[in-house]
């Protein structure tokens, strides 16, 4: 059943991207109509039986109809016998006889007839499963930049790829966005924060030709850039400050990985080096102690995944962790789902179980855990820093002092005890029995203090990460079962990617270093494509390949395959520099379009897959929170470090279900603890991704619980209070204050009607508050807070054009 459903969705690519209307109709038919016909009609009106002379198994047959005439009149559901029959309105014409179709099914058939009753003769050709020649496994091509008619529009070759497709569909790009809009868009895009009114004014005042590219440079150089784009990376790295799953204990040192990511983006670390360090940092030669630490911290990438830490079946736990690592590396860098091949050859992609266990050998030869007994402990590297040395030295000194104190105490007491013995009497074996009570108590106290001290060594700086384990190839686990083993598979990379098996696994190392080199080899067909597509997605809200984490046969095809290849090659040629890619994209005409949609584009390309305008986007969860703190003047810009209150490996949640995490910080959202199993509710409600799995394409939902958050949460109301106080402090006249409010929150001046409405609103609220707030000044401030609250909840604040 599931398979047949899958086949329906594996619609031939030639249909899906060229003509969106036909594709829509086809999809509607294949997903909603054909299944109903097959399940409810064809038994009696198909190949085997033709009741009433009617067949419904082809388009012609439907039009020809049966004894009563044509079954369907395209475009006219009410005139179609088929529709009359399934509606059961006419006693003589009721089909199916036994059971009426559901309202939904009837509606689907009606819609199908309305749309013209297209009926492809056969289910569309399925893609060839396990196709080794699938586009994503072929190396990126050297493509020619296409010619365009309108040579004035493109600012770069990137634009030519976009424009050529638009011209092909007789569409024109949207006009350039106005400067205020562009300013707000690019500032949020690069920093996750709104522009300040002063920044807007400065940009508008700068009429030079370089104004915009200067703005881009300023933003790229701002530390907030790394905070915003590092956070994108943390989405795919499934970053979290707690383990989640069964034993939700603290990743007390995960923040070091987070800070490493932010710093890497800020310094424009070449992405190939960034990848290599995350997979094999512990195996790299470092030039300094700092670099060595950085490399170790980077391997946290492999360790921060969720693990079932109380799994009693230890071999299973071990293979579950290996599986999570394979799946993460596959999705994040290659856009491939390797997980399926743990139990059987991948059904759709040419990845065999043997390929899976070839990779599994690499991770099985890697030590992620120090112990596997419940609650299992992940490996951490101590970080030899000056701070650590001081802490250790202080601790050692404390220990020595305590021991010394005990010895001194004993020495003195022994002397006294011996002296107190009558002449000639042999001392007892332990002189302690002779001590006076006070001395005994003192000694007991000192010993207890020593014991406590020994039990509480300082938490020296350490970092989650992986190291080498015993090197071993792994046997295929039949149906994924660790106790049913098949052939041992040598460690290797999936042969479908990157040609001949020239990579040799070192006998004395896990092979992670080779894995990292293989992934970042410029010939690898997937890595650079997957990366540039991710970056495109984070700029434009959708990828050239919309399934950012799946480039396999079940993923979507790129809308602009040539552009994707061109970008991938250019990215590698630019030394894997992300900032170079940003400049290319942000300075393009494509990026600078307004978000106005022409009627023709709305009709032909409703999903904006051809980029004929800039799609409006809602702010991400972090942006909503940060922007509220920012405009209300409360945002604390301190960077880095941990806000986790629980100590490393301590429980975030135990059976008491008490949430001890404090989110009341004014720091940027990036620094708030990410707690698996119970993500901060403000984030949860605003589509923060599940931190247990790599997610490169956050969803944006619009649900009523978000509205409740905006209406009723203390956070939003506190921001409104702070914003009101700020605006009222800055000026005395309400009209001036309003101008300030609009500038701060939405980057523009209010219109006259808006001024009138807002002033009337303030007055109305003021009146309503008379009974509860007798003091006029306080009352007016409250009214302002009520208005600021509305502005913070408004779509114009929450969306970017």
């Amino acid at each position: 059943m599931m398979l047949s459903f899958l086949i329906f969705l594996l619609i031939d690519e030639s249909v899906s991207s060229v003509n969106p209307i036909a594709a829509d109709q086809l999809r509607q038919f294949e997903t909603e109509v054909r299944p109903v016909l097959v399940d409810h009609c064809l038994k009696c009106h198909g190949v085997e039986k033709q009741w009433a002379g009617l067949r419904l198994d082809s388009g012609n047959a439907v039009l020809r109809g049966g004894d009563s005439g044509p079954a369907v009149v395209p475009g006219q559901p009410d005139a179609s016998l088929l529709i009359q029959a399934i509606r059961h309105n006419d006693a003589d014409l009721r089909m199916p006889k036994d059971e009426q179709l559901s309202d939904q099914q009837i509606a689907s058939l009606v819609r199908w007839v309305e749309l013209g009753a297209a009926y492809p003769d056969q289910a569309p050709r399925a893609k060839r499963h396990r196709d080794r020649d699938h586009w994503a496994f072929r190396p990126a091509a050297d493509v020619a930049v296409p010619d365009v008619q309108d040579n004035a529009w493109p600012r770069s070759d990137l634009d030519r790829f976009i424009l050529a497709r638009l011209e092909g569909q007789l569409l024109t790009p949207a006009p350039k966005a106005d400067r205020r809009t562009l300013m707000r868009r690019v500032t949020f895009d690069l920093t996750g924060l709104p522009p300040s009114p002063e920044e807007i004014d400065a940009f508008i005042a700068d009429e030079g030709p370089q104004a915009y590219s200067n703005l881009v440079e300023r933003l790229l150089a701002s530390p907030a850039y790394g905070e915003r784009w590092g956070r994108h990376w943390l989405d795919v790295a499934r970053y979290a400050d707690s383990n989640g799953l069964d034993e939700n204990i603290a990743h007390g040192n995960a923040w070091r990985y987070r800070d490493y990511v932010v710093a890497s983006f800020n310094s424009d670390k070449p992405l190939d080096r960034f990848i290599i360090a995350q997979i094999a940092g512990d195996l790299l030669d470092a030039n300094s102690e700092d670099e060595r630490h950085e490399y170790l911290v980077a391997t946290g990438f492999l360790s921060i995944g969720p693990k079932v830490l109380a799994e009693v079946n230890q071999p299973k736990m071990r293979m579950d962790i290996v599986d999570e690592q394979i799946d993460t590396v596959g999705r994040v860098f290659m856009g491939m789902t390797f997980g399926c091949a743990r139990c059987h050859d991948h059904k759709f992609d040419p990845i065999d179980a043997a390929d899976y266990y070839g990779l599994a050998g690499i991770f099985k030869s890697t030590r992620t855990m120090d112990t596997y007994t419940k609650v299992a402990k992940w490996h951490e590297f101590p970080l030899q820093t000056a701070e650590a040395a001081t802490m250790q030295a202080e601790y050692d000194a404390q220990l020595a002092a305590k021991k010394q104190a005990i010895e001194t105490c004993i020495g003195q007491a022994n002397e006294a005890a011996r002296a107190s013995l009558p002449e000639g009497q042999t001392p007892p074996e332990s002189l302690e029995t002779l001590y006076p009570e006070a001395k005994k108590a003192e000694l007991a106290r000192l010993r207890e203090e020593l014991a406590t001290l020994e039990k509480t060594p300082p938490e020296l700086p350490s970092t989650m990460g992986v190291t080498e384990d015993e090197i071993a190839n792994v046997a295929i686990h039949i149906r994924g079962n660790p106790s049913r083993l098949g052939d041992v598979v040598p460690r290797h990379f999936p042969p479908v990617m990157l040609g001949p098996a020239e990579w040799v696994m070192p006998p004395a190392q896990s092979g992670r270093r080779e894995l990292a080199q293989w992934l970042t080899d410029p010939r690898h067909p997937l890595t650079a494509r997957v990366l540039v597509n991710r970056f495109w997605r984070w700029h434009f809200g959708a990828g050239l390949v919309t399934t950012t984490d799946n480039f396999g046969l079940l993923g979507e095809r790129p809308t602009h395959p040539e552009l994707l290849d061109w970008l991938a090659k250019r990215f590698i040629a630019d030394g894997w520099s992300l900032k170079a890619l940003h400049r290319l994209i942000l300075n393009s005409s494509t990026y600078q379009q307004s978000s106005s949609v022409s009627e023709k584009a709305a009709e032909l390309d409703p999903e904006n897959r051809l980029w004929s305008h800039f799609s409006v986007r809602r702010l991400d969860a972090e942006e909503v929170r940060d922007a509220m703190l920012f405009v209300s003047g409360q945002l604390d810009r301190t960077m880095g470090g941990s806000l986790l209150k629980v100590k490393n490996r301590g429980y975030l949640f135990d059976h008491t279900s008490i949430d001890t995490t404090d989110y009341n910080s004014k720091r940027r959202s990036l620094y708030l603890p990410v707690i698996r199993n119970n993500v901060f509710d403000l984030f949860q409600l605003l589509d923060f991704p599940d931190p247990a799995v790599p997610i490169g394409d956050r969803s944006t939902t619009t649900v009523a619980t978000q509205a409740l958050l905006m209406m009723n949460s203390d956070f939003v109301m506190q921001a409104a209070d702070d914003l009101a106080a700020r605006v009222c402090r800055d000026a005395t006249a309400d009209a001036v204050r309003l101008s300030r409010l609009y500038q701060l929150t939405i980057g523009r001046q209010p219109t006259d009607p808006e001024l009138i409405d807002d002033l009337a609103f303030l007055q109305q609220i003021n009146q309503s508050l008379t009974a509860t707030e007798p003091e006029p000044e306080k009352r007016h401030l409250k009214a302002w807070s009520v208005l600021c609250h509305v502005r913070l909840a408004s779509s114009e604040f929450i969306y970017v054009q």
Partner: protein
């Protein structure tokens, strides 16, 4: 326009927008009017805000489900599955092998400290732990051969709720909402009352990769007494209602102006509707949570007047009110500040305490639903994440039992299942499921089937694969159907 019961057209965005532009009524008056209206005309806009596609695969035997989750794992051999040989062989070794994988080490057989009696016309066995529930055995469908895959709380709880013990997957309630939608557009389709935040926490009611509208809405959590358990942000702590109405009116104008300037944009349009729905939820939910409108007799029936039963009683009564209001999947969790039913030691006093807390409320829920004619299309499901070993952990009067996922009892009632029957067995000592074994996957398949959903067809495409609650497993147990 809005005079026809505030039903928005389901057509393209522009139609609705045009309607809004023509409309002279602001948000406040609209919301006021809808609050006064009957629920039948309250069906909201069919946008992203409300779960639609009520699309069962076949005729449903149950329209909704109430899951009474006994966190920690109640003991089958002390509640519903009596074992005479266990009593006879008390203190002797288990005469066959224990499972290869156990949570803790256990010693010899430990007989149940409670007496069992047969009840009702059906003669089903119930121990003296559940005297009130025993009066309803003719409505219960005992499943004695449930078995799972994971012996630790975390894995077992996640398996039970999501079908997976090592990945984050959509919870069962999310699958049900995805498959069936809601009957009441002013309420979520899936609510969970006082759930535990341990052992998978929110993943046990989250929608994972299913769209966010299908996630469960929690009322409080296990650390909150049920009279303090509310949906987050459902009430405004500062602003009086009339001010909030003015605010929403102003907001609607701002958003409508913005929409007009931005051009047709579905998400902006949906956002307008989301505030309307939020305001209706804000009025509806507290009404359901407010149990003071229930008669004193009903409150006493559930045990609201008794401090021992009051906490769980409130949850059960709320569950009935949610069921009446059209919520599809309602979960109630019995979990205290320890892991309620997890008696590794002190089996006798603690299982007794636990049973006392739930016995009367559950009996009342069954009685009440039946009296209201709701039991026939409401499925009640009782159980924990696993059962307990018939062998002892510890010794003497403080002895307890370890986790046992190999064979344990759950029961169903109402919603299309036969009452007064037992299905499946465990071995003579109650350790392993023996005849007619029902795996957690089978139970999931069966419950979906009862709700009109085919577990093999209820799929969702994610990361290149079609996922199901039952993965590649699941066998529907039709033998228990009425």
């Amino acid at each position: 326009m809005f005079n026809s019961g505030h039903r928005f057209p389901n057509g393209p965005v522009l139609t609705r927008r045009a309607a809004l532009q023509r409309s002279a009524v602001g948000f406040g008056s609209l919301a006021m009017a809808s609050m006064l209206a009957e629920r039948s005309v309250l069906a909201g806009p069919e946008s992203m805000n409300s779960v639609v596609t009520p699309h069962p695969h076949h005729a449903a035997r149950a329209k909704r489900i109430i899951f009474l989750f006994m966190s920690g794992g109640p003991s089958q051999v002390d509640t519903f599955d009596p074992k005479p040989l266990l009593t006879r062989d008390d203190g002797k070794p288990l005469p066959f092998d224990k499972p290869a994988i156990q949570f803790n080490a256990t010693s010899n057989l430990l007989k149940s400290p409670w007496r069992f009696r047969q009840h009702g016309e059906s003669g089903l066995w119930v121990s003296e732990l559940f005297p009130k529930l025993a009066a309803h055995v003719d409505d219960l469908c005992m499943l004695h051969s449930i078995h799972g895959t994971n012996p630790a709380h975390g894995g077992a709880v996640m398996k039970l709720h999501t079908g997976s013990d090592n990945f984050v997957r959509p919870s069962m309630g999310s699958w049900v909402s995805y498959g069936l939608g809601t009957e009441n557009h002013n309420l979520p389709a899936f609510v969970t009352i006082c759930p535990t935040l341990a052992f998978g926490g929110i993943n046990n009611w989250s929608s994972a990769f299913l769209p966010a509208i299908y996630q469960g809405t929690s009322l409080g959590n296990a650390s909150v007494p049920s009279d303090k358990a509310h949906v987050k942000y459902i009430q405004n702590s500062r602003l009086p209602r009339e001010i909030q109405l003015l605010q929403l009116d102003r907001l609607e104008k701002m958003n409508r102006d913005h929409l007009a300037r931005s051009g047709a944009e579905a998400s902006l349009d949906a956002r307008l509707a989301s505030f309307e729905l939020a305001f209706r939820m804000q009025s509806e939910l507290p009404k359901i949570e407010d149990l003071s409108t229930e008669s004193e007799a009903t409150q006493r029936l559930y045990g609201l007047d008794n401090p021992v039963t009051a906490n769980f009683a409130r949850m059960c009564l709320m569950a009935r009110r949610f069921a009446e209001s059209g919520v599809r999947f309602i979960q109630v969790t019995h979990n205290d500040d320890k892991v309620q039913w997890d008696q590794h030691s002190d089996l006798k006093p603690t299982h007794e305490k636990n049973a006392r807390e739930v016995d009367q409320p559950i009996a009342a829920l069954l009685y009440d639903l039946k009296a209201r004619g709701l039991l026939e299309d409401t499925l009640i499901w009782w159980g924990g994440e696993f059962g307990r070993t018939p062998t002892a952990e510890g010794a003497g009067p403080g002895a307890g039992r370890d986790h046992n996922q190999e064979g344990f009892t759950m029961w169903l009632a109402g919603g299309g299942v036969k009452g007064g029957i037992r299905y499946g067995t465990t071995d003579d000592y109650g350790y392993y499921a023996a005849e007619n074994k029902v795996h957690i996957h089978d139970l999931h398949a069966t419950i979906l089937d009862l709700l009109g959903l085919n577990h093999e067809r209820l799929t969702y495409r994610y990361a290149g694969r079609d996922f199901r609650l039952t993965d590649v497993e699941g066998h529907v147990v039709r033998e228990i159907y009425a």
